[in-house]
């Protein structure tokens, strides 16, 4: 049986919300801590992703949308955005390498 919107109690929302808050706080903490940058970035990335999917899943109640439609739309956006990003990024390095010294 599919869960519908109304089955989620207020409690769940508060839980999610506090989880989000926690993640934000942790991120702020990490930001100030002197961690190695790569570690930091990857930690924060994980945090972001967790947060984004929580928001997407609950607040935007994607969970209750028709999943395949959402899948197609997000996959499409993701593919395009990733294409743009990953095909431009190598040029950043290259431009730096060939920059006028």
């Amino acid at each position: 049986m599919v869960k519908t919107f109304n089955d989620v109690s207020t409690k769940t929302y508060w839980k999610i919300w506090s989880l989000l808050l926690l993640i934000t706080l942790v991120m702020m903490l990490i930001d100030t801590a002197a961690l190695a940058r790569t570690l930091l970035v990857s930690l924060l990335l994980v945090g972001m992703l967790a947060k984004a999917s929580l928001i997407a899943a609950y607040f935007m109640h994607l969970r209750f949308e028709k999943l395949s439609l959402v899948g197609i739309v997000t996959a499409g956006i993701f593919f395009t955005a990733a294409a743009l990003f990953f095909l431009i990024a190598p040029d950043g390095v290259w431009i730096l390498k060939s920059a006028v010294k």
């Binding site: 593919f79 294409a83 431009i88 190598p90 040029d91 390095v93 290259w94 920059a99 006028v100």
Partner: protein, 590 residues
């Protein structure tokens, strides 16, 4: 219920203003777009003719033109910067304000609800808004010719620093700012249109109209709209950054140490290549946004005049989707020699040439659609056949360019100009003509003159080859594009004589378009009355009156029982079986 509400709204005919000017009826909006495109075509075509005059007769004076452009044509002699404004505005207007308007916005708005069995678009108000957003955009573009410094002159690609620094070229002042603003308006409007197309096609299909029963026109409009939604924001971002670079001192595209106008500019650390990436991330999908609907119209027109289904409906839909996906990851083929990372060059080259596989499959389907048919060479059919030929030629030219190695030599040469005129100026323009002759009866309730139409076709076809086939060979000989004249280099001497052929052909082509316009407006008034289905076609729009009333169908929206290409069905009463024919009357194949 909200939709019912919308319906009542479009049904109220209202005053003249509400019916023809601020109408929310998709048919009226479609025709408004179409007529706007026509006006812009006249402007952009006129600019092209002026360019051709200069290229063929570099030393002549044109006192008449001086009257029109006293600054650009001082003393009747064209200034180099004015030539560049002509090129820029010709390209921009043609791509965005002629072909996009007529093909995507014009035919799209007119045909989508009619062919899927809807009473209107999903958001009629948004639709009207989208039209009224491009009106100021058109005015801004035209006005830019008359501001200080003249119209934008950095090419339709607007590469910075040329487009970012006021002193770099005269058109880089107000002209470029207006260009950017007009493009921003265009993008806003196109986004509204795209939203509308996607939502309409997904939610407003009539009963029985499954996705695999959609006419190919609708498929191509659908894919084009999604492509536009995905690709256009990149130019929005780029335009915002360029405006900030131009007016607020940021440095997104401007590196340090630029020495322009005898002074060092204060900018730091930006890179012009970024603009190229963003522009072509839009620019390349954009050409398919224009190409696909042209192919869609063609694929719908051909079966009506071969009296048989198109060849390979499923293959075509698949190929269209593959083209759409690939077109998002090949933009770098415009940048092979731009100083981009050479590894990216290899990637983009291989990716670009992958697009030729689905494209060639569509090419084969187009040709094979004739096989075994009873070909009837009416004017729309002639133009549709023209589309096939031009698509083949232009596409095969693309193979030279998609190959990074040959593109080193051919980049920014007239070979490129020839290639893209075949595609973006040939396939699409011929597609528009085919569509116009075919759907004119539905739009206006009258037939266009076949005789004038045929003259229009033959003159256009012949002069088209005269103009743009020759350009490929100019390019092979090395002639660079955006040159004001070809007299400064001795290796270009063999090229000068070819320019004359091109120019003369362009006069013939322009004359042919005058015939078209005469035909159009004459038939509007005097054409023979058309009945509902003059071509004996099967798709839904032919079950509505010509022209269709508000709400498209009196009474109920028809129900669909079959795919749109049911021609010459054995045992059927006629050689065409409309999509609305129930299974009881003729067997359903798809």
């Amino acid at each position: 219920m909200a939709t019912a509400h919308v319906l009542e709204h479009t049904h109220t005919a209202g005053s003249f203003l509400g019916r023809y000017i601020f109408s929310q009826d998709h048919k009226v909006i479609g025709i408004q777009y179409f007529l706007t495109a026509m006006v812009m075509a006249l402007v952009a075509g006129f600019l092209a003719i002026m360019m051709r005059l200069q290229l063929a007769f570099p030393n002549e004076t044109w006192p008449l033109l001086e009257k029109l452009f006293p600054l650009g044509m001082e003393g009747g002699v064209m200034k180099p910067e004015f030539y560049l404004s002509l090129v820029t505005m010709h390209g921009t207007l043609m791509v965005f304000f002629v072909i996009s308007f007529a093909l995507v916005s014009g035919f799209g708005n007119f045909l989508i609800p009619l062919q899927i069995g809807a009473r209107d678009m999903a958001y009629p108000f948004l639709n009207m808004l989208s039209y009224w957003t491009i009106v100021p955009a058109c005015l801004l573009m035209i006005a830019s010719f008359f501001v200080e410094g003249g119209a934008a002159a950095a090419g339709w690609t607007a590469y910075p620093p040329l487009s970012a620094v006021q002193n770099a070229v005269p058109g880089s002042g107000w002209g470029q700012t207006l260009w950017l603003l007009a493009m921003a308006l265009f993008i806003v409007s196109f986004t509204m249109g795209g939203l509308n197309y996607v939502a309409t096609i997904l939610t407003h299909r009539t009963q029985g109209m499954s996705m695999m029963r959609l006419p190919l026109t609708i498929w191509t409009m659908f894919i084009a709209a999604i492509l536009a939604l995905l690709a256009f924001p990149a130019l929005t971002a780029a335009a915002i950054m360029l405006l900030f670079d131009r007016h607020f001192g940021t440095s997104f595209f401007l590196p340090s140490g630029l020495y322009i106008g005898e002074q060092v500019l204060p900018h730091q650390g930006g890179t012009p290549l970024l603009w190229q990436h963003l522009f072509w991330f839009l620019g390349h999908p954009e050409v398919y946004v224009l190409l696909l609907p042209a192919l869609g119209l063609t694929l719908d027109i051909i079966p009506a005049f071969t009296r048989k289904p198109v060849f390979g409906y499923r293959v075509t839909v698949t190929s269209l989707l593959v083209i759409a996906v690939l077109s998002l990851i090949v933009w770098g083929h415009h940048m092979f020699v731009s100083g981009m990372n050479p590894y990216l060059g290899e990637f983009f080259s291989i990716g670009t040439l992958l697009i030729t596989l689905p494209s060639a499959a569509i090419g084969l389907n187009l040709i094979a659609s004739l096989w075994g048919g009873s070909v009837r060479l009416t004017t729309p059919m002639l133009f549709a056949l023209g589309v096939i030929a031009l698509f083949g030629t232009g596409g095969l030219g693309g193979i030279f360019l998609g190959n990074a190695v040959s593109d080193v030599y051919l980049h920014d040469s007239y070979f490129v100009v020839g290639h893209f005129h075949f595609m973006i100026g040939g396939v699409t323009l011929f597609g528009i003509f085919a569509g116009t002759y075919y759907w004119f009866p539905k739009m206006f309730g009258r037939m266009m003159s076949e005789r004038l139409g045929k003259i229009h076709f033959w003159l256009s076809l012949a002069s088209f080859y005269g103009m743009f086939l020759g350009m490929h060979f100019l390019g092979l000989a090395g002639a660079p594009r955006r040159y004001y004249s070809f007299t400064q280099f001795s290796f270009l001497e063999p090229v000068v004589s070819l320019q004359l052929i091109v120019t003369i052909s362009s006069f013939v082509f322009a004359a042919a378009q005058v015939i078209f316009l005469l035909n159009f407006f004459y038939s509007l008034k005097k054409g023979s009355k058309a009945d509902k289905n003059p071509w004996n076609a099967t798709t839904l729009e032919w079950t509505a009156d010509s022209p269709p009333p508000h709400g498209n169908w009196n009474g109920e929206v028809p129900r669909v029982y079959r795919w749109p290409y049911e021609y010459s069905l054995p045992d059927a009463p006629q050689d065409f079986t409309p999509q609305t024919t129930p299974p009881a009357e003729a067997k359903v194949t798809m």
